[in-house]
Assembly symmetry: C2
Homo-oligomer: 401 residues x 2
């Protein structure tokens, strides 16, 4: 294990084997800068650009306010910077006073280009099929042949910490009446999001084996969902206003390179997918999530249970020639395991609102009340026996107007 | 009628009562600039910024390579610039040599933020319902209560002139086999697209009566659609790869102000929509489209037949608090009238590929062949008895890899 000069870093979820990237302001800098979290501190990449990178595009990228300069440079530059950061943070000669993470405000870590949301958990898709279409087979015939996905609204992706106003919209009452008002079934979806770095040209594809060449890193996602709005609007063109009011993401992006030790086998697929979805080296990530509502941990999904891998989702997204841009973002869809205690959405956890959750404060919940605070956290194995703590996604629910 | 010093402009579809905006390069400028089309010429807004706008944000906006500087400034600035352009182009003292439109290359007129595609034609939705779901009611129960829409891929919006590679993907054969290959049912959708200028904050709404405050202008759209990919993938989360490979738009954006004389009554709605979708002043636009395939005009849809108006689509998009960004783009969905000769997609025109179209060259078509060229054009009434010609959307089909 490498030893950092940052006090407490080695034993934390943010050792030199993690090094997630974010955009921050602090009492020292009022304009957002790119930083790396180490222990309970933040290394300012702008201030240290000369030490960290040779003259050229990589050094220039460190002086940008977020990841947008680094993303298009590709895997070789990302790895070069990671090595340089680890050397810097373990070299006692470089020790200096870093800003405390409690003193910083986090901003958009990247500029979202397009946002795609998948539906990659067999358990979640099966549960939602049963709840939304009780009279049909829960999985559509296409589900095991391709990773089902759709485009979401990139403009309403917000970093953790931005509170979310309850959306209003149309819904149909059980009597068949069409009414307008604040959503009465506001839900969460605990997901994993992937930040695309290296772009492709229109007409090109990114193969299933090129995942690590194109994807820079990942973060937790809360894909807020207004189930009553969604149920009424979604046929035949898919979810729209039931999702587009906000999607929250963890504001520190964990680089893929930090997750080598968390790689694990992905579920076997039957039927075998088409060649463009077949990986030479098929793997998923063992990442243990916790969903917490007002302080009570209500569920513990694990990412390794997802049927479709992030490499398959990337290959599918581009197999028709759709181009990739730095800042494209795709999410896994709700991460749900086989047990009720492992599902990533309240609609599953409470079985359509019929079986309330009990919270530690003695109250019960089906869907979210105004003032509720939702937090999604996660840990994974890092290099050299360390544990990574992924950046939490935390936000409160504000009342509708 | 105002008389321009640009030769031939007054009698053309591009008099001073039109003045669409585009981003162009020419033998004189190799970096894109913002320009206005007048007659067969292009006025360079960068070169003439001092004459056209006082010192400040408006003048700065004219020095940007596309509309992104102008869009956030809002209706008052847009109208101020239009008055100034009309004064300039009718003042003989300002006469000078303008670049010929045949000498320019057009670029992205704006930077697409989010892209939403609606489904606002009752005739189109009914036809597609019959073709895709022959055993159910053609319109879903929600269709007359809200403008059904979904997010598309903003990163693959391309201006007219960019040829489109036939996408490959999964489809299910009539025997139920899942195969991969180039789409065998490549289609078009003739639509109208609306460019959002003035933004809103997250949590705010843009009311149905604020349409002209937020929307800068419009253009023709060809929403290329791979029907075989779409039919297999679209349930339950909507169209994805069947659409995301490319969407073409007319590269000169016609400002809303040019279309005052084209305003017309919109179809009456039954049932009456909810208050947030009810306009004080309900109107549509009388815009006559022509769809041409390899030189044969195969259809003549009119925009006025659309059930949901652009104001209703804007209000719906934001009623849940989703924010607007300058460069957000939303399209109407296929423009189809009641007659077979007025439909905006080949799947309707050939009734699912069963009734081929005859072209003037003696060949027949159901869906597109490699090398085919599709052109969508349109005219509308302008001020003072003029006729506006909207910028065409023209592109050819390139073979799959």
């Amino acid at each position: 294990m490498q030893t950092s000069w940052v006090p407490g870093a080695d034993q934390s979820g943010h050792s030199v084997h993690h090094l997630p990237y974010g955009s921050f302001t602090s009492p020292r800098n009022s304009e957002p800068r790119l930083g790396v979290r180490i222990g309970d501190r933040v290394l300012d990449l702008c201030d240290n650009a000369e030490d960290l990178a040779p003259e050229g595009p990589l050094r220039a990228a460190l002086r940008r306010p977020n990841l947008q300069g680094l993303l298009p440079l590709g895997r070789e530059s990302w790895d070069e910077l990671r090595t340089s950061l680890q050397r810097f943070l373990t070299d006692p000669a470089k020790a200096h006073d870093l800003v405390d993470v409690s003193q910083v405000s986090l901003h958009a870590a990247f500029e979202p280009a397009d946002y795609v949301d998948y539906y990659a958990s067999e358990h979640h898709a099966t549960n939602l099929g049963r709840l939304f279409r009780p009279d049909s087979a829960p999985l559509m015939p296409n589900w095991k042949h391709l990773p089902v996905g759709y485009h979401g609204r990139a403009g309403t992706l917000v970093p953790s910490g931005v509170n979310i106003k309850r959306p209003s919209g149309q819904r149909r009452t059980p009597d068949g009446e069409i009414v307008f008002g604040p959503s009465a079934r506001l839900d969460i979806e605990a997901e994993m999001g992937f930040v695309v770095g290296a772009p492709t040209a229109l007409g090109d594809t990114a193969s299933v084996d090129s995942f690590a060449d194109h994807v820079f890193g990942l973060c937790l996602v809360n894909d807020w969902s207004a189930r009553d709005i969604q149920a009424w609007e979604y046929q035949p063109l898919g979810p729209y206003l039931g999702k587009s009011f906000a999607t929250s993401y963890g504001a520190w992006i964990t680089p893929l390179a930090a997750l080598e030790a968390a790689k694990t086998e992905a579920p076997e697929q039957d039927p075998r997918p088409l060649p463009y979805l077949t990986e030479k080296d098929r793997y998923s990530y063992d990442i243990e999530l916790a969903v917490t509502l007002n302080g009570t941990t209500v569920s513990r999904p694990n990412y390794r249970d997802m049927y479709w891998t992030p490499a398959q989702m990337l290959a599918h997204m581009t197999v028709n020639g759709a181009s990739l841009r730095p800042g494209d973002f795709y999410a896994s869809g709700t991460i749900s395991g086989p047990e009720r205690s492992q599902v990533g959405a309240f609609i599953e956890l409470t079985w359509g609102g019929k079986e309330p959750m009990k919270l530690d404060d003695g109250t019960e919940r089906t869907f979210l009340k105004d003032g509720d605070i939702v937090s999604i956290t996660a840990t994974a194995r890092g290099a050299a026996g360390t544990t990574l703590e992924l950046a939490e996604v935390t936000a409160g629910v504000l009342p509708a107007d």
